[in-house]
């Protein structure tokens, strides 16, 4: 029987990287402070020591350079794994990601498909203010040619990261830093992968479909537990893959519940919740018993002191859920 261990998300990610570096000699890890220091969140700790500074290395402080260079490394036959220190700092590399990485396979008629995976801690909840809290998933989901994957716990983190590293597509792998250490789980120590683009039903229920990802999962589960106390039975779905996304699972759920609330940290307008609602209302129109709603960050920059007001919490989620159920 496979061994298991109690790991937090950072350890699970580190384990996935370690196993990849071990199995795939073309894999390299690059980013700011990822080498000797092991990354500001320690996700790459110990890897430079183990695999050498040619395969795990610090870069100059320039995200556009990091991603641009990684694309070139991918073209040259390596499997670069990039860390962007905070998702808020991915924007200097936006052109390289959106105009180059995302389009390289398509525009070359499949002759080149640089296998670049970009890991980056994202989201709020750590008192990081404007620039250590943003959730940029919608930007990337709107960019054809990218995968966007978000784990919600250690088991998912390891399995999805290994799954993403097996696939040849460019991946934006968003790590909910707020639960980096909070979420611990008993997970297999062996190599395993989770399928991409498959949503996970985290809690079964019949009254409402609550959809979220990353650090909003514990919030939603908390809200569902509170709702249970009020006599409501909520289904909670962990989207896991934002792009492509598993519409099928959502639609099946909403066909049953007739109601959906999407929860995300990013600002509401044109966030990924909008996409899910637009798609679900089209596919499950006849089954809708209430408007599909969103509980999200507000249309403001991410605040510092008032962060707790900005971030969706169980109370706000519960209120929206109850309102939808009572519609």
């Amino acid at each position: 029987m496979a061994e298991t261990g109690t790991l937090n998300m950072i350890q699970a990610l580190n384990d996935a990287l370690d196993q990849t570096m071990e199995r795939d000699e073309t894999a390299v890890i690059l980013g700011e402070d990822v080498g000797h220091f092991g990354g500001v969140f320690r996700v790459t700790a110990g890897l430079q020591e183990k695999y050498g500074s040619e395969r795990v290395f610090d870069t100059p402080l320039a995200e556009a350079g990091i991603v641009g260079m990684a694309i070139g490394m991918g073209l040259g036959g390596l499997r670069p794994i990039v860390e962007i220190q905070f998702a808020d700092f991915i924007f200097p590399a936006f052109d390289q990601i959106v105009n180059e990485l995302a389009k390289y396979r398509y525009r070359s008629g499949g002759q080149y498909a640089p296998r670049v995976l970009i890991r980056t801690p994202y989201g709020g909840g750590i008192r990081g203010g404007h620039y250590h809290s943003q959730s940029p998933e919608a930007y990337f989901a709107h960019t054809p040619g990218l995968r966007v994957v978000v784990p919600s716990g250690p088991y998912e983190a390891k399995g999805l990261l290994l799954g993403a590293l097996e696939c040849d597509d460019p991946v934006i792998f968003l790590e909910p830093k707020r639960i980096y250490r909070a979420a611990k789980g008993e997970i297999p120590l062996d190599y395993y992968t989770l399928p991409l683009e498959r949503a996970r039903i985290a809690r079964k229920g019949v009254d409402l479909s609550l959809v979220a990802w990353g650090a909003m999962m514990p919030i939603c589960l908390e809200a569902a537990a509170l709702a249970e106390g009020e006599g409501y039975d909520i289904e909670v779905i962990d989207l896991q893959s934002i792009a492509p996304y598993d519409l099928h699972t959502l639609v099946r759920s909403v066909e049953k519940t007739g109601r959906m609330v999407v929860v995300h940290e990013a600002p509401r307008t044109c966030g990924f919740g909008a996409e899910l609602i637009a798609a679900v209302q089209s596919a499950a129109f006849e089954h809708l018993r209430a408007p599909l709603e969103r509980v999200t960050g507000f249309d403001t920059p991410f605040p510092y002191i008032l962060e707790d007001h900005y971030l969706p919490n169980a109370e706000r989620v519960l209120a929206a859920a109850v309102q939808a159920i009572g519609y």
Binding site: P60, T300, A319
Partner: protein, 374 residues
């Protein structure tokens, strides 16, 4: 452990001797009074670094970044400029605020993010903005401020204000694309601006040697058609001289200057960092011998305007002010929840208005008696 590279090879501009003396021709760079003011600012800087670090450790402050070891570079720039010259800070330049005499309470209000913070507690500590003192808004993405300085300089010239814009950045930040565009645009448009690299040897854990294979960063100036100089960043007088001359050139219409100040980050990168994980004690130790505060103290003594009693007295006086001001500022309540929704655009958008109304209704219910299932 990765061996840290030897730091700073080239020979920078220096003025202050080991013993605190300087050549006669340079004495006039600062008046005796200014030397005392600078020493007072350094005393205050160190007090703040110590007190705020403590405060952070006690959980009373979210975050702090010390500037210990880099005070001469930071202060020197402020000293050399006119008060109306905008200084685009990176984040580690508390000394500029102190030189410009921004009230301590205003600084603390920002750090705490209380209801009197001019920025309404919207950003993390050290992300200052004080328009009244020509300090534009600090942001975390490094290097973004550099083209702003180029543009501000352009505006100043076109509007005839006579201002010169100075932007700080770290040697790590000089690797960003924004560094390139800023210096290149400034050069092409002869923008009255100054780009001052605080080369303190590290970008978090990453040593200078990983940022560039060049002999120096100053040498990049030539690639943009501007003077590029290295200065001993721990030598206040040298920094004042170099920045002052750059400002004079800029005001005379002779365009921008790149300055690389060689210094050392004596403390951690921030309160989230532990430098012992990536650099040797000996290295840090060696740099304490070059401590810019000690150096300026010797200069003060050499001029006969500073001594231990004066320092002790100053320290006590300022420390007292810090403690009492802090206590006052900590009492101020946080910004009103409503402010979260204000000032994104000039007027509140209908989308945000709806979000606000919904949230505030819930918030009021909550304040009036715990949360409530609607």
């Amino acid at each position: 452990m990765t061996e840290p590279s030897p730091i700073h090879s080239a020979a920078p501009i220096q003025i202050l001797g080991e013993d605190g003396s300087c050549a006669d021709e340079h004495r006039g760079l600062l008046s005796d009074e200014q030397v005392v003011q600078a020493l007072e600012a350094m005393v205050l800087n160190r007090i703040l670094d110590r007190r705020l670090l403590m405060l952070q450790r006690q959980g009373r402050l979210g975050f702090w970044m010390t500037s210990r070891g880099e005070e001469a570079t930071i202060l020197g720039a402020a000293v050399a400029l006119e008060p109306e010259d905008p200084i685009f800070l990176s984040y580690r330049e508390l000394g500029c605020l102190l030189w410009r005499q921004i009230p301590l309470a205003m600084i603390f209000n920002q750090l705490i993010g209380n209801g009197r913070d001019v920025c309404l507690g919207r950003q993390m500590p050290v992300h200052y903005c004080y328009r009244e003192w020509s300090i534009p808004s600090v942001s975390a993405p490094v290097g973004t401020q550099l083209p702003h300085a180029a543009g501000f300089g352009y505006a100043a010239r076109l509007r005839g204000t006579g201002q010169v814009a100075l932007a700080f950045c770290g040697e790590g930040t000089a690797s960003q694309g924004d560094f390139h565009t800023a210096l290149n645009f400034a050069g092409v448009f002869a923008s009255p601006s100054i780009f001052l690299i605080r080369n303190n040897g590290y970008a978090i854990s990453t040593p200078e040697s990983v940022q560039t294979a060049a002999e120096s960063l100053a040498v990049r100036g030539e690639g943009y058609g501007l003077p590029g100089l290295q200065v001993d960043g721990n030598d206040l007088l040298a920094v004042v001289k170099v920045v002052g001359e750059a400002a004079a050139r800029a005001r005379a219409g002779d365009g921008p200057t790149l300055i690389e100040a060689l210094t050392y980050r004596m403390g951690a990168h921030s309160t989230a960092d532990d430098p012992s994980a990536y650099r040797s004690d000996e290295e840090a130790e060696a740099w304490t011998r070059l401590d810019p505060f000690e150096r300026l103290k010797r200069h003060g003594a050499w001029r006969g305007v500073w001594n231990e009693e004066l320092e002790a007295e100053t320290h006590a006086r300022l420390d007292q002010r810090v403690v009492s001001t802090l206590a006052e500022c900590e009492k101020i309540p946080p910004p009103r929840v409503e402010t979260l929704f204000e000032g994104v655009l000039e007027t509140v958008s209908p989308q945000l208005e709806a979000q606000r109304d919904e949230y505030l209704a819930m918030h009021r219910r909550r304040s009036e008696g715990g949360y409530e299932v609607p």
